[in-house]
Structure formats: structure tokens, C-alpha cells
């Protein structure tokens, strides 16, 4: 171990590698309910070349490597389940290029959402990127690689769909490029080449380390508005979402409904964000959005709620601190959620799962959905816990586990799933699909050094 530590120091400098108890403690856990798993080292490279050298060292020595961006997935994906090193990529945070005309940004993988947003506001005020409901220190790379979504997902789909290409270091040390950048100086698209980017997306860091990526940018409109549609009937929501997404005029649509044990159940509401270049265009969009759900307004089963300016401003915030504030719901500093990807028509069924689990465990369940394009949604079940009370953390962990299983039974798929939930997904997966995953990994990572313990059966 000392030999590896010294070699890591030679690669990144002594100040950016640690085997001290303090770093091992913090990097052994995230903010969710998964139990700690400590690495032997934490290392922070500053360049692709340093990443390559570290991976070559790890490969030679058979040491596990756990790549980490913001470390904010909450589902424990950056814990070193089999020891080795956590590679914190946040020093690699340079914004390398913004192409105004073709609307893309090339960034190092550790670039944070907030810093990219601020950079665009300053240097390219006509452009913006899709911001997830994560804290602004979350990384662009991490969020793309977990199939994240965000406040432009009505336009661009999952954040992984907004990816134009990437540079990655393979577990055997080769540096590869995917997408247009592999055959052109421009990072504009994944088409028309074989889509090798998929080798790294959704794999929980088990196939390589992404070091650079290009993402799509979108117009930053000067006029923006938010509307809230409310209905008392949960069964109507799927159709409301279908109608709203059919307008193809919105930037973001989310739906929220809470199940608070022993308290009032909040009416389900749908939040619609949209932007325009002129006031007239904004009004035009507003009218068409209203027209899409006129049926429910006319029959008085739903309608738009009046919004005070402050509430409207809150709804337009991106990133928004409110999701993080859930952590203080019990004055306990903790929450984790099952984010499940599923078709829109399962909204009511997904809601019913949440209610049942909430009752069974006696735990509040904050449910929300972000609609991805017009095709599916990320339906989330959020359980808060008091970090200082072990039993409370256990309760949330058990509720999360049961929710993952219920989602799978319903036909959804847990997103950025914890290692135990990954095993449940594998049980539902076509065996040939899982076999293909294993064959690909055995080619890419013959020694099995990349984030072992993830996407595994045993």
C-alpha cells in the first residue's frame, strides 16, 4: 500500500493524495442511507494524463478505482465497496470551449453545474444548459453519466441525450474519444458514428473514467414564466402531462404530490416552465398551454392556480435550493430518494405505491416527477431521516429498498440505483442483456478494477 501511495504522490503531487483517516472517513460515505465503505486512498488528478497514469498504476496493481464527481447521487455509488481509491475529479473543472453557433460546451468532467451556468451568463448570455435539481456543485459529467435530467428536459430529454461526445480513459489506460470529436475537431454530435458513448453512461463508473464531455446548450430566453396546474384527481395527471407535453412549447414540466402521514395530503400539482424571446411570444405560449388542458378547466376537474410573483420566481430558479431543504424536514440532515424512470401513464400507479409504502412504514413520502420529453418521467419517492438516529436511517433505507422493488414490479426502473437495487434490476433484466454487459466489461476492464461491487450479481 505504501508503494502505491508513493506512486500516487508522484503522479498528482503529495497534496492531492491522502490515506489519512479524515479523508477516508468522508469519502467512505455519501449523504444517503447506504452504509460506509472506506477506500484506501483518495486521489485528485488535474488532467487526463494524470488520470491515465493513475489508471495504469491501478491496473498494474489490481487496485479498485472509484470515479467521483460531486459525490451527490445519494445512493452510495462512489463508495469504495472493495477498497482501493476514490478518484475525486473536481479539480478537472475547466470550461474548454463554448460554440455559440452550434450551441455546445466542452468541459472537463469535474466542472460544476453552477460554475458552468455562471460562465455562460457572463460570456454567452444567450445560452444556457439544463440544470438538474441537484446542488450547483454537482458536476456536469457526473449528472450526464447517471442519465440525469433537469430544467430543460422537455426540450432535450435526459442529460445523457444532451451529450455530444466525450473523452474517456479506459480501465486499461487508453484514452478514447466518442462522438464527432473522434473524427473531427468539433464536438457537435454523437451521430453519425457508432454510439460508443453508451459504453460509459449508466454504468456507475464500471467501464472507465470520463475526463471531458461536450453537452448541448439551449437558448436562454429573456422572458420566462411558470404556471401551476392543480387537480384533485390523481388519475387525471397522466393525461394532463400527455396534453401539456404535446404542445412542445415548454422547457420543464414537473409534477408533485406528497403523502404526509397524519397530515393533510396536498393536491397533486403540475408545474410548467416556459420561456420566450418576446412578451407576445410568451403570451402566445401561455395561451396554447392553457388550451391543451382546457377540457379539464371546462369540466372543473382542474385549473391553473394564481401565482404570487415571489412563488413564480421560486419556481423559475435553477438550481433551486428547495430540493436540498428537504434534508432538514426532520431537523435531521438526511434524505434519500428512489428516482424511478417509467412511462407517463404509470403516474397514478406510481403514486399508489408511494402511499402504500408510506402507510406501511409510517414514513412521510414526498413524491414528484420530472417529465422527460413527452415519453417518460423520473418519478421520485423521497424519504427524510434524522441522521443522528440510527433507527430512523434504517427505516428510510428499508422504505427505499421496498420502493425499488415495487417500482420494478410496476414496470419502472430505479435510477442511479444503489448496489442492492442494481441486483434487483438485474433479476428483472433480460439475461442476454446482462450477459452482454458482462462481456463488454470483461473486454474493457479485464482485471475488474472499475468500481467493483456495482452491476454485479453476487
Amino acid at each position: 500500500m505504501e508503494k502505491i501511495y508513493n506512486e500516487l504522490k508522484d503522479i498528482v503531487g503529495a497534496e492531492f493524495v491522502s490515506n489519512q483517516p479524515e479523508e477516508l472517513f468522508i469519502y467512505s460515505r455519501d449523504m444517503g442511507t447506504m452504509l460506509p465503505a472506506a477506500p484506501d486512498f483518495v486521489v485528485m488528478p488535474d488532467s487526463t494524463e494524470e488520470v491515465q497514469k493513475i489508471v495504469l498504476l491501478a491496473n498494474r496493481e489490481g487496485v479498485p478505482v472509484v470515479p467521483m464527481g460531486g459525490g451527490l447521487v445519494l445512493s452510495g455509488l462512489t463508495r469504495a465497496l472493495k477498497g482501493g481509491m476514490v478518484m475525486d475529479l473536481k479539480r478537472m473543472n475547466r470550461i474548454l470551449e463554448v460554440n455559440e453557433t452550434s450551441r455546445y460546451a466542452l468541459v472537463e468532467a469535474g466542472t460544476s453545474q453552477g460554475i458552468l451556468q455562471a460562465y455562460l451568463k457572463r460570456h454567452h448570455p444567450g445560452l444556457k444548459h439544463s440544470i438538474p435539481d441537484a446542488p450547483p456543485i454537482a458536476t456536469v459529467g457526473g449528472n450526464v453519466l447517471i442519465h440525469g435530467s433537469g430544467h430543460l428536459s422537455q426540450i432535450g430529454g435526459f442529460h445523457s441525450e444532451m451529450l455530444n461526445g466525450m473523452e474517456a480513459v479506459l480501465p486499461t489506460g487508453e484514452i478514447v474519444k466518442t462522438g464527432s470529436c473522434s473524427a473531427s475537431p468539433y464536438w457537435f454530435s454523437r451521430a453519425p458514428l457508432p454510439d460508443l458513448s453508451g459504453l460509459f453512461i449508466g454504468w456507475a463508473g464500471t467501464t472507465g473514467i470520463v475526463t471531458k464531455l461536450s453537452i448541448k446548450l439551449f437558448p436562454a430566453h429573456p422572458y420566462n414564466d411558470a404556471r401551476v396546474f392543480i387537480t384533485g384527481d390523481i388519475e387525471l395527471i397522466a393525461d394532463v402531462l400527455h396534453r401539456l407535453t404535446g404542445t412542445q412549447l415548454t422547457e420543464d414540466i414537473t409534477a408533485g404530490v406528497s403523502c404526509i402521514i397524519g397530515r393533510v395530503q396536498i393536491f397533486p400539482m403540475v408545474i410548467i416552465n416556459y420561456g420566450a424571446d418576446t412578451k407576445e411570444e410568451l403570451t402566445w405560449k401561455r395561451n396554447l398551454i392553457r388550451a391543451s388542458v382546457k377540457k379539464y378547466i371546462d369540466d372543473k376537474t382542474g385549473g391553473f392556480a394564481p401565482l404570487p410573483p415571489a412563488s413564480r420566481a421560486d419556481l423559475l430558479k435553477a438550481p433551486n435550493p428547495q430540493p436540498t431543504q428537504v434534508a432538514d424536514e426532520k431537523k435531521g440532515g438526511g434524505f434519500e430518494y428512489v428516482g424511478s424512470i417509467m412511462p407517463i401513464e404509470l403516474f397514478a400507479g406510481a403514486y399508489n405505491i408511494g402511499v402504500e409504502i408510506s402507510k406501511k412504514f409510517g414514513i412521510d413520502n414526498l413524491m414528484a416527477a420530472r417529465i422527460i420529453g413527452g415519453h417518460c418521467m423520473m418519478f421520485s419517492y423521497t424519504y427524510t431521516f434524522n441522521r443522528a438516529i440510527d433507527a430512523d436511517v434504517d427505516l428510510a433505507r428499508n422504505a427505499l429498498h421496498e420502493t425499488n422493488n415495487a417500482v420494478l414490479k410496476l414496470g419502472g426502473i430505479p435510477w442511479k440505483a444503489e448496489a442492492p437495487a442494481q441486483k434487483e434490476i438485474i433479476k428483472h433484466m433480460d439475461p442476454n442483456t446482462f450477459q452482454l454487459m458482462n462481456r463488454l466489461r470483461s473486454v474493457l476492464d479485464p482485471k475488474g478494477i472499475m468500481n467493483p461491487g456495482n452491476w454485479e450479481v453476487g
Binding site: 468522508i26 485528485m44 459525490g71 455562471a118 434534508a327 431537523k331
Partner: protein
């Protein structure tokens, strides 16, 4: 430990690492060290682990704890209303626990020992404390309207002395009724408190309160935002209720009527001191002064006001030097930011910021294109042109 009941409520979401406008990493210790442990949230989680016995108070643990600059960027940016106002309080409370063990990092132990033994951290005799005023005809306090409090750095540090003399000169010129304590002045205790030496900081505060009261002092103008903070916020809790002004507040009152100015032709930006800005909400007065100077081309850096990047000298770090060195020290990043925005002069209003940024300009090799000047020094230069 005080505030222990709040520690577990930190989610470690990381909002605290960035300023409210997200422009860049804005926590000085996280900026320099880059491990999660040195971020505000990481630090709080380590504190909790220490209190629960999962971690020892190792040298590294103490480095993590004492490298916080108490700049309050985390307080500004934190997304959890229930704890945000106490984030720095938790750090100071933990430092107090370490102080009580007697096992401090050497640089901090030395600083506190010097304050205890000599009343200042510069290893200078108390008799030299008023030497900064030599040749200026600054009166010793004897019932004037204001006490001008120079503080440790303004009394003993070469760069700080220039700043103190500039401010005093302007006050003399404007006919402000003020006096100084000279060799009777003692440390204000602000940074001693930030380092967790509560007993010593209270001792210093009580001594100052007694002296001010006995001399009939009702109004105080401080050179340093650190002294301003202690006297404005901590002294009242110990019975010392004075009208306290930072010198920029006073200068702002008199600049138009009492200080006719010539021009100062340079592109100038202003660096907000944390203990003036985020701690006390004084943002506009220094800017008003600078924008009153004819010919001065004023511009803001991206991180300004409540989003300003700390110089790295707060919370005792000016003396312990845990944040001063390296490419990514706050001060060096700050002058690089000023350079990026095209500033020729970085205006400051704190002797600690002044020294930290002057050193950073040298480290960055920018001496030929950028000066660090106190707001009062800029006004004096403009005044000379008028004369």
C-alpha cells in the same frame, strides 16, 4: 460543544462551496486543499465524527478545523435555513474545545501566546504600538469626539502602518476630532475569538471596554473590519456599548464636503473584506468613496459583495498561514480574478486583506501591472493631484 445539536443537520450538499452567484469555488480552505474534508460540510461531518469518537483530533483534523477563514461564504450560500446562521459558530465552538485541550497547531499556539504575553502577535514591545503615528501630529485621545483604533496589523505591520497613516492623515485633513491610544491600545480580540480562545478574547474585550469607558470614549472608528466586528458585535455582549464605525463609513460621510479631490486615473476594483461585508453588511460605503474620485474607472469583479472571495486571512489564518501559500490560495486566486477583469488597482479596506493581496500580487508576478491600495491611500493620491 456549543451547537453540537446542529452538526448532524448539515446534509453536506455543497451549496456552501460556491458563492451565491456560483462563479467559482468561494470557500478558501476548500479552494486550496480540494478534499471534501476541507469544505464547510466536510468539516462539520468530521466534527461530528470526532465528537462521537469515530475520529481522533489528529494534526490533520486540526488543520481542517483551523484552516476555516470564518469568511461566512458558507453562511451566505447554505441552503438549510435552520443551520446556516450558525455554521461559523460551530467551527469556533469546536476550536474552543481544542483550545481547552491545550494541544494546538504550533502557529496558532504561538500567535495566542504572543497576544497573551505582549498584547500583540508581532513580538514587538507595547511601547512601540503608537510609533505608526510619528510625524503626523495625531493627538493622543483626550476627550475628542472619536477614538481612532489602529489595531495590531495597523500598528505593527509595515503595509498596515501605511494604511493607518493614510486614514489618520485624511481625518486630520478633514478636521475630524479624534485621538488614538498609542502605547495604551491593546489587541481587539476578534481573531483570538475566531480561533476559539474565548477566555483570552473576553479578557482583551473587557480590558478594552474598561479603558474606553474610563476615558469617556463613546465613538470609535476602526481601521480594521476585524476590530470593527469585535467592538460592534462582541463588546456589547460584555457591557461595552459604543458607537462603532469602520473608517470607510466615516470617510464616506466627509469625502464630498471636506476632502476636495483631484483625479486618480486608473481602472480600480474593490475587494470586500469579509468582516466588513458578509459579517456586517457594509458594502456600499467603500464603493461610494471610490466612485466619488474623479477619473477613477471603477469596475466590479464577478465575485463581489456577498459573493466576494475572502483573501484567506480571516479567522486567524493571517497569522497561522494555513491558507497563504500555493497556486490556489485565496489571495492568489483573487488577484488573478482582478487581473482577468482588467484591474490596475485592487482597492481594499482591511489591513489583513491588503497584506495578503500584496503578497499574492508578488507571487503572481503582477507587480508591474497591478497595485493593491487601501481606499484611503487612493483618496490621498487623488487629493495630492488636487493640491
Amino acid at each position: 460543544m456549543k451547537h453540537e445539536e446542529l452538526l448532524h443537520r448539515c446534509f453536506r450538499c455543497g451549496w456552501c462551496k460556491l458563492p451565491v452567484n456560483f462563479m467559482d469555488i468561494n470557500c478558501p480552505s476548500y479552494l486550496k486543499y480540494r478534499f471534501e474534508t476541507y469544505s464547510p460540510g466536510g468539516r462539520l461531518w468530521l466534527l461530528r465524527a470526532w465528537l462521537t469518537g469515530d475520529l481522533d483530533a489528529s494534526d490533520r483534523f486540526k488543520e481542517v478545523l483551523f484552516s476555516c477563514a470564518t469568511c461566512k461564504n458558507c453562511v451566505e450560500a447554505c441552503g438549510i435555513p435552520g443551520i446556516k446562521d450558525h455554521l461559523v459558530d460551530m467551527i469556533i465552538a469546536a476550536r474552543e474545545e481544542i483550545v481547552n485541550t491545550g494541544k494546538l497547531p504550533p502557529s496558532i499556539r504561538n500567535y495566542l501566546t504572543e497576544i497573551y504575553n505582549r498584547g500583540n502577535p508581532f513580538k514587538k514591545p507595547q511601547s512601540e504600538r503608537g510609533d505608526w503615528a510619528k510625524g503626523l501630529d495625531v493627538p493622543v485621545y483626550n476627550g475628542q469626539e472619536y477614538l481612532f483604533y489602529a489595531g495590531d496589523v495597523g500598528s505593527f505591520d509595515e503595509s498596515g502602518i501605511k494604511m493607518t497613516r493614510a486614514v489618520a492623515s485624511l481625518f486630520l485633513n478633514a478636521g475630524i476630532s479624534f485621538g488614538i491610544l498609542g502605547e495604551n491600545e491593546t489587541s481587539d480580540g476578534n481573531d483570538v475569538n475566531a480561533l476559539g480562545e474565548k477566555a483570552l478574547s473576553e479578557h482583551l474585550a473587557v480590558n478594552n471596554i474598561d479603558q474606553f469607558t474610563k476615558r469617556g470614549i463613546a465613538r470609535i472608528i476602526t481601521l480594521s473590519p476585524h476590530a470593527f466586528n469585535a467592538m460592534k458585535n462582541a463588546y456589547p455582549l460584555l457591557g461595552g456599548k459604543f458607537e462603532v464605525y469602520h473608517y470607510t463609513q466615516m470617510l464616506n460621510k466627509i469625502i464630498k464636503d471636506k476632502l476636495p479631490l483631484g483625479s486618480f486615473k486608473a481602472r480600480v476594483t474593490y475587494h470586500d473584506p469579509c468582516y466588513l461585508g458578509r459579517w456586517n453588511g457594509v458594502y456600499l460605503e467603500p464603493r461610494n468613496i471610490l466612485q466619488s474620485v474623479p477619473g477613477l474607472d471603477y469596475m466590479e469583479m464577478g465575485r463581489n459583495m456577498n459573493s466576494a472571495l475572502c483573501c484567506g486571512g480571516g479567522g486567524g489564518n493571517y497569522f497561522s498561514d494555513m491558507l497563504g501559500s500555493g497556486q490556489d490560495s485565496s489571495a492568489r486566486r483573487r488577484v488573478r480574478e482582478a487581473e482577468e477583469y482588467g484591474a490596475e488597482v485592487v482597492a481594499v479596506a482591511c489591513p489583513i486583506c491588503k497584506k495578503m493581496l500584496e503578497d499574492a500580487v508578488k507571487d503572481e508576478g503582477l507587480e508591474n501591472q497591478m497595485r493593491v491600495m487601501d481606499v484611503a491611500q487612493i483618496v490621498i493620491e487623488a487629493k495630492r493631484k488636487q493640491a
